[in-house]
């Protein structure tokens, strides 16, 4: 291609969109817009629905829930044990104070 021809081709290419007509809008676009709008309204009504939309999100949410539950159970257990210990010590000291401890004859320590 000579320089003149190339220059002409470049110019024609740049102007190749002159007089371009509008593309036809796909059928039922307005119906699809309404459907999407309805879906969007639903999504806004339940903002956390996205957690269930993708398996990765669901598993992540489930894992967080399980970890949180395990933490809470261990935490509550530890508190219970601590409370039981404190209660035993309190009863023992009360009993000692008023001489209410009855020692067994088999108790070696006494």
């Amino acid at each position: 291609m000579s320089d003149i021809n190339r220059e002409d081709e470049i110019l024609k290419t740049i102007n190749s969109l002159d007089g371009v007509e509008k593309a036809e809008v796909p059928a039922f676009l307005s119906v699809k817009v309404k459907a999407r709008l309805a879906a969007s309204k639903k999504e806004n009504a339940f903002p956390f629905m996205f957690l269930l939309a993708k398996p990765a999100w669901s598993f992540a949410a489930l894992a967080i829930t399980i970890v949180f539950n395990i933490y809470m159970v261990t935490q509550v257990n530890a508190e219970h044990q601590q409370a039981a210990k404190t209660k035993d010590v309190a009863i023992e000291s009360f009993a000692k104070e008023y001489g209410m401890i009855s020692y067994s004859a088999y108790d070696k320590s006494n």
Binding site: T13, I14, S16
Partner: protein
């Protein structure tokens, strides 16, 4: 003023008014998205997103610009977001995109705009490939002018800039296209 009354109805959530908005502007939105995205599937998807966003954010429309200008802005923004998303996805992620070069014209797929005259089909396909490699603002200005047939003033309203800025963008776009096409047609 028709726009003002119409906007009032839209803001009140009138479904019939919204249907009319879609009917009146679907061609504008779809064709703008098609020119920028160069894919009928993506353009249709973006057109749907644009109208959903228009419905949801009509409350923020102040009436300073025309309704069509506002829709053009949403369409352009959404189309650019989609282009960036597709580009990142194609390159295999954000991290890779930081180190990879811009697309060359030859790597891009062919796009045949259905409204181009038969005699110009082949050249328009080459031009669309070259347009896809332009910087965002030049690409928008050139597409709105050539595909949508908008004046420089209308483009300025959409891009929120002066006519002189639009003219500068168009000039730079043409210069860049000329460079790209010179390389493309090099023997």
């Amino acid at each position: 003023m028709i726009d003002a009354d119409f906007v009032k109805l839209l803001k009140a959530g009138d479904e019939a008014a919204f249907s009319r908005l879609v009917e009146m502007h679907q061609q504008l939105v779809y064709n703008t998205a098609l020119g920028l995205l160069q894919s009928s599937e993506d353009a249709e998807d973006i057109a749907q997103e644009v109208f959903v966003q228009a419905y949801e954010s009509i409350g923020t429309f102040k009436g300073e610009a025309r309704l069509s200008t506002w829709l053009y802005r949403i369409t352009v923004t959404k189309s650019l977001d989609r282009i960036k998303y597709l580009s990142r996805k194609k390159r295999g992620g954000f991290v890779l995109s930081l180190f990879s070069k811009e697309d060359s014209m030859l790597d891009l797929p062919d796009f045949n705009h259905p409204g181009v005259k038969l005699v110009n089909k082949e050249r328009a396909t080459v031009l669309f490939k070259a347009m896809a490699t332009l910087p965002d603002n030049q690409r928008i200005a050139f597409t709105l002018h050539k595909v949508e047939g908008l004046s420089h003033q209308e483009i300025g309203e959409i891009l929120n800039c002066t006519i002189a800025s639009v003219e500068a963008l168009m000039h730079r776009a043409k210069q860049n296209l000329r460079k790209l096409l010179t390389d493309y047609y090099k023997p």
